[in-house]
Amino acid sequence: MGRIVLNGVRKAFGEVEVIPPLDLTIEDGEFVVFVGPSGCGKSTLLRLIAGLEDVTGGEISIDGRDATELPPAKRGLAMVFQSYALYPHMSVRKNIAFPMRMAGLPEGEQKRRIEAAAKALNLTDYLDRRPGQLSGGQRQRVAIGRAIVREPSAFLFDEPLSNLDAALRVGMRMEIGELHKSLATTMVYVTHDQVEAMTMADKIVVLRAGRIEQVGTPLELYRTPHNLFVAGFIGSPTMNLIGGAEAERHGARTIGVRPEHIASGSPDGAPWVGTVGLSEHLGSDTFLYVHGTGLAETVTVRADGEVPLRHGDRVGLTPNPDRIHRFDAEGSRL
């Protein structure tokens, strides 16, 4: 009931083509995250699905029905906006009731759904307040409540957590995840934060300049990035991308090794030996930035949290040979 298929969807603003023809299938019940740097067209893509922007070419079908020309309200989708877009002059109750009132649902049914949504989202005590009297997290929940009561075939989220502080963001991330588990409804989620993408998604769509770079589960993207862009975008801290002679030794133009796949130890016999520059001690891990290894790039290494290395220490680095990603001159995976 929430299968969305994009077929050759294209979007141009005047002369500028922001999304070249693109195919994508979102299966029913999936949590799909569009991720990419700002300006990559991920929000535009979401707005095309929502119907807030008209496609320049191609087709969108929802539940097997052609929805390309349908107005937003008729697509059976609900959207949560980055700014929440709550109606400031209405109480929380009226905000949540608004889509149902527009649909002409009977009063009793409206009331029942509002109560249910408020209970699920911990909003029962706030139903008679105005959005201006709520905190950021509560406003977010009201926006989600307004989406839930419509019982849509899919939810669309446009960077919903970017206005929240870090602690709230983690909490809301979990709430949205649980909501997805309990509703089992298709969700399409746009973010520029790869951590959100990795933690929430069933399927990640990595976008760059309107093009899909790779589609896959979080672990697929982590294990086998198709190209340099995905390799550099997924994972934190980012993958070490090393060119030059070292790459040629592996028969590639560029090789990539994730910081967590490099062992640090004594300088004797290690393939790369360098000096610790900055070391970030997070408690659970330590990130070492090692230079002077003879490689052009500074190498980031994730070491044990209590590793006794400090600025200026000599250290030997051994990359895990099974975890070296090789890329050709075009940046594609070998």
Binding site: A73, A85, P88, M90, F98, P99, M102, R146
Partner: protein
């Protein structure tokens, strides 16, 4: 650092300005109040004895007073209805993307720059005149009898003229208010299934409430004292059909040279303006609280 000394010095420094402002306001008001209690007619020079509230009694019992009071309220109310309604409609139109947007906006705002006497004369002679006016010409083109605006419907004609002058002001304020509405809210309403009517009623109109309040308050202040438009078109007539309080004060103090009676009328007008202001603030002032 606001110490005792610096605060005293600050008060000393601003006191000349405060004193000037106070005199500027208090002296004319006090003089008006004073004159309103004198028998003071320029046609009868000599002693100006104190007569208490006699002038007020004359003013209130003047047969023109009730008409003028009603006319004043009709004029203010009529212009407000037309300008706020028309202003919202024009603002919605001007908010659309269209060819020549800048020029159209400039043209809409233009009437505000035409001075009241000129615009009233233009309306009187070029539009409403049954012989030379455009409306008369149109009526004749359809074979109808030209409507004699200023004699048959004098107050309504003045309401039209004043509305034309104030429409740009309302449009301008309401347009900026519409432009400040977040597009995500409109998009959210659209996703929620609201058509144009519902969007206007539930999203745009509540968003405009504060701007509408400002328009009504500011316009009321100016509309209570409309004068030039009446002077150059109907002269308050026929009879007193288009005389408002301001014009009545003018008739009595300047045409009849009765300073005392005119001052009393002025004081009555001040009181009336304050009553209207209190009602307005009660009714719609709460919109101004955030």
């Amino acid at each position: 650092m606001a110490t005792q000394h610096s605060r005293a010095a600050a008060r000393l420094m601003i006191s000349p300005a405060v004193v000037v402002l106070l005199l500027w306001m208090i002296v004319p008001l006090a003089l008006t109040l004073y004159f309103s209690t004198l028998r003071y007619n320029l046609l009868m020079p000599g002693a100006n004895p104190f007569v208490g509230l006699e002038n007020y009694r004359y003013f209130f019992t003047d047969p023109a007073f009730t008409t003028a009071l009603v006319n004043t309220l009709l004029l203010v109310g009529g212009v407000l209805v037309i300008t706020v309604g028309g202003g919202i409609a024009l603002a919605l139109l001007l908010d659309q993307e269209m060819f020549g947007q800048g020029i159209v906006r400039l043209l809409v705002i233009a009437p505000f720059f035409v001075m009241p006497t000129v615009s009233a004369l233009v309306w009187k002679n070029m539009f409403m005149d049954p012989v030379n006016g455009l409306f008369g010409y149109i009526a004749r083109a359809f074979g109808a009898q030209p409507f004699e605006w200023l004699t048959a419907a004098p107050l309504f004609s003045i309401i039209l003229i004043v509305s034309w002058q104030w429409l740009p002001f309302a449009t301008l304020i309401l347009l900026t208010a519409i432009q400040s509405l977040s597009s995500e809210q409109l998009e959210a309403a659209e996703m929620d299934g609201a058509g144009f009517g519902s969007k206007f009623l539930w999203i745009i109109l509540p968003h405009l409430a504060r701007a509408i309040t400002v328009v009504i308050l500011i316009q009321t202040i100016f509309l209570l004292s409309i004068f030039a438009e009446i002077l150059v078109t109907t002269g308050g007539g026929p009879g007193v059909a288009s005389t408002n309080l301001t014009y009545l004060v003018y008739i009595q103090s300047l045409l009849q040279f009765d300073v005392g009676l005119g001052s009393a009328g002025g004081v009555v007008a001040i009181v009336l303006a304050n009553i209207v202001a209190i009602f307005l603030m009660r009714m719609i002032g709460k919109n101004l609280d955030a």
